[in-house]
């Protein structure tokens, strides 16, 4: 899982300086102001952030799920499998990415159609892409249901979403996402709505599938523990920017951005007894009215006038480990 990949392998997905804004009336919400990260085959890249940090919009932008208006992609690039897909037409995108990127959403009940059986829904991608039809498609759907760990898949394929529990519905979604054997799986908070023992089952399933199919995975989450356990790389988002990124072990054990550091100090940990929690003061920024300079400066213990005035540079503190902070080297060296 955490085996280092040869650096020579080109990234399967490469997001560079992506910018997305939502316009309504006179208000402009800059949801993403510069997101840069990549993922190679067989690897898991986590995008970590709190609500409003831009992590789900990033996923939606990759999947072309943003309605325009109000959303406008104002800059950057998304390269998939060696080609730019940001400017591609919808039909071209479908051809290039429709089969090769699968997605799992957080809310399985809202993402499944309540009036069709789950077997019919899992077979949908085969029909839509003209790969299989009728009975053959349904049989393939039953196989997939079995693969994601649903007991008695032949019977359960005829059931409707409401007849499944939360964990089982998430399995159905995963079956649908992997139906066309994608090269990349994007999972947007796939276990957030689930209990911890079910979360462990679903993460185990996702990692098993990833290994078996050598897929790349982009995992969008707010949970530091999940990131630590399953990701190879992490991109930490704050105020619409990737403020720190790198190999997960480096970033979490030796953060170079004050936000990552503060986040680590503010979560209680089940594996350690009583420890002092060091909360981050204030609240996450208002995306319609971002602070000047570094958007974390109002909550940062280390902020200086420089941070209020201008955007910090992207500093490489260790090979592949970047942080957007004037004092990145100081934070990185401080531990």
């Amino acid at each position: 899982m955490r085996a280092p990949m040869p650096d020579a392998a080109p990234p399967l997905l490469e997001v560079t300086d992506l910018r997305v804004e939502f316009r309504s009336g006179r208000e402009i919400v800059r949801a993403i102001n510069g997101a840069t990260f990549s993922v190679r085959r067989g690897e898991t890249a986590a995008v970590l952030g709190e609500s409003g940090s831009g992590k789900s919009v990033t996923a939606a932008a990759i999947m072309r799920l943003l309605a325009s208006p109000p959303a406008h992609i104002t800059g950057g690039s998304i390269r998939f499998d060696g080609a730019e897909v940001l400017g591609a037409s919808m039909s071209e995108w479908r051809k290039r990415c429709g089969v090769d990127i699968g997605m799992v959403f957080q809310d399985a009940l809202a993402s499944l159609n309540p009036v069709f059986s789950v077997g019919w829904q899992i077979a949908e991608p085969f029909r839509a892409h003209g790969i299989l039809h009728g009975k053959a498609a349904l049989e393939r759907a039953e196989e997939l249901l079995g693969r994601v760990g649903i007991p008695e898949p032949r019977q359960r394929a005829r059931d409707y979403p409401h007849q499944f529990s939360g964990g089982m519905r998430q399995r159905v979604m995963i079956a649908m996402a992997i139906a066309l054997d994608p090269k990349l799986l994007i999972a947007d908070e796939p276990t957030t709505a689930l209990d911890v023992t079910v979360q462990a089952q679903i993460m185990d399933l996702l990692l098993g599938l990833q290994r078996e199919r050598h897929m790349a995975m982009v995992l969008i989450t707010h949970d530091l523990g999940v990131v630590a356990e399953v990701a190879d790389h992490v991109a930490v988002m704050y105020g619409g920017r990737v403020v720190e990124s790198g190999p997960v072990r480096d970033v979490l054990s030796r953060p170079a951005h004050p936000y990552t550091l503060a986040l680590l100090e503010s979560v209680p940990r089940a594996d350690i007894g009583k420890q002092k929690l060091n909360p981050i003061v204030g609240s996450p920024p208002d995306m319609a009215n971002l602070p000047t300079g570094c958007s974390f400066h109002p909550r940062c213990r280390m902020a200086t006038d420089e941070c209020r005035a201008s955007l910090p540079p992207r500093v490489e503190t260790a090979p592949g480990h970047h942080a957007e902070c004037f004092r990145a080297r100081e934070v990185f060296g401080g531990r």
């Binding site: 707010h222 630590a228 680590l264």
Partner: protein, 362 residues
């Protein structure tokens, strides 16, 4: 009355908490809550019962925090709601200073409720959007008119707001002007308005962002230790519960399976479910290889309408034997203070054999 929080307890979380006195101020015995299935349209004919809570016993001592953990549907919120008499219990007793809350009439209940206050999960739904913050905090004094003379309200509202880290000026604002974390602070100020002896907190930080959670956790801890308030702390986040609690009770399908001091339950869980639950929590720590000792439970929690006979966890337990299906294990002390409801409790030295381990390879 107006305790100054800033001088009390300089470093919450690090100091050893005072050992709470022995006499429980709150004693719950045999609490049962069954909901009938069907009814209504089917001419009141009940098709059975959802056994949401099925025989729960625990006690809380003065100044103590009891953490109540378990997964959705285990009955932890139902326990809280019946203790507040927001739901009527089906059976059992809840003794508060020796007086049974479940048998109290409306007048008695009003007096008891003054001393037990609740903090809710959803800071957006639990504050009236049409009331100013000051009115929200003062509402308990409208209901309990003898607590505080009206001329002192404004001062006290200011003090309460300061004690939860807000400004006295905020009393004039409306809830929508505040962020989630600030709203939860308002809810806490309201709960403190009557100087309660017990706070029932139902998932008080689950709805908050990670960076804001710690602020509220620290605040609750400060309040709890400086006012010496007992606390029933309900949460599904095992890390938060460990941080907050002196003792912890683990629920599974309507029953307590293990209860004891928080450190000994976390370090040496005796019930297989406790062990599985703790092992499933993702960890940030890289010292232990991730997931190395993870127990993946098979299947799902059975329906509380038709729970398994005997031990309710037996259908998913790797230690289950025929006895487990025949007899329900009582909650027994296997060591001083730590009680377990299991016929074959784990030994503290039990490391799971590979045959035991339900590690799915799929």
């Amino acid at each position: 009355m107006a305790a100054d929080l800033s001088t009390a307890s300089p470093t919450p979380g690090l100091e050893v908490k005072p050992v709470p006195g022995d006499a429980p101020i709150f004693d719950v015995r045999g609490l049962v809550k069954h909901y009938p299935i069907g009814g209504g349209l089917r001419l009141q004919r009940s098709a059975g019962f959802i056994q949401a809570v099925d025989g729960v016993d625990f006690a809380i001592r003065k100044g103590e925090t009891l953490g109540l953990v378990g997964e959705s549907g285990c009955g932890k919120t139902t326990v809280a709601r019946t203790l507040m008499r927001l739901e009527e219990p089906s059976a059992g007793a809840a003794l508060f200073h020796g007086e049974d809350i479940f048998r109290a009439d409306a007048a008695e209940l009003k007096i008891i409720r003054r001393r037990i206050q609740m903090i809710f999960q959803d800071p957006y739904a639990s504050l009236n959007p049409r009331m100013r913050v000051g009115q929200i905090i003062a509402e308990p004094w409208v209901i309990h008119a003898d607590v505080l003379p009206r001329r002192l309200w404004a001062t006290r509202i200011g003090e309460l707001l300061e004690s939860v880290g807000l400004l006295p000026d905020h009393a004039r604002r409306y809830p929508h002007e505040f962020s989630g974390g600030q709203r939860q602070r308002i809810g806490i100020a309201r709960a403190l308005a009557l100087n309660p002896e017990i706070l029932v907190c139902d998932e008080p930080v689950s709805a908050l962002d990670v960076s804001v959670q710690a602020q509220v956790v620290n605040l609750l801890e400060k309040i709890q230790s400086s006012f010496h308030i007992a606390c029933l702390f309900i949460a599904h986040d095992l890390a938060v519960v460990r941080h907050m609690s002196h003792r912890i009770a683990v629920m599974y399908l309507g029953r307590i399976v293990e209860i004891g001091p928080v450190e000994s339950v976390y370090k040496t869980p005796r019930h297989p479910y406790t062990k599985a639950l703790l092992s499933a929590q993702p960890r940030i720590d890289f010292a232990n290889e991730a997931g190395g000792d993870r127990i993946l439970l098979q299947g799902e929690v059975p329906s509380p309408a038709n729970p398994p006979s005997g031990c309710r966890f037996r259908t998913r337990c790797w230690k289950a034997q025929s006895l487990c299906a025949e007899r329900s294990p009582p909650l027994l002390a296997h060591r001083p203070d730590q009680q377990v409801a299991c016929h074959f409790p784990l030994e503290p030295t039990d490391t799971m054999g590979s045959a035991d381990r339900k590690k799915s390879t799929q």
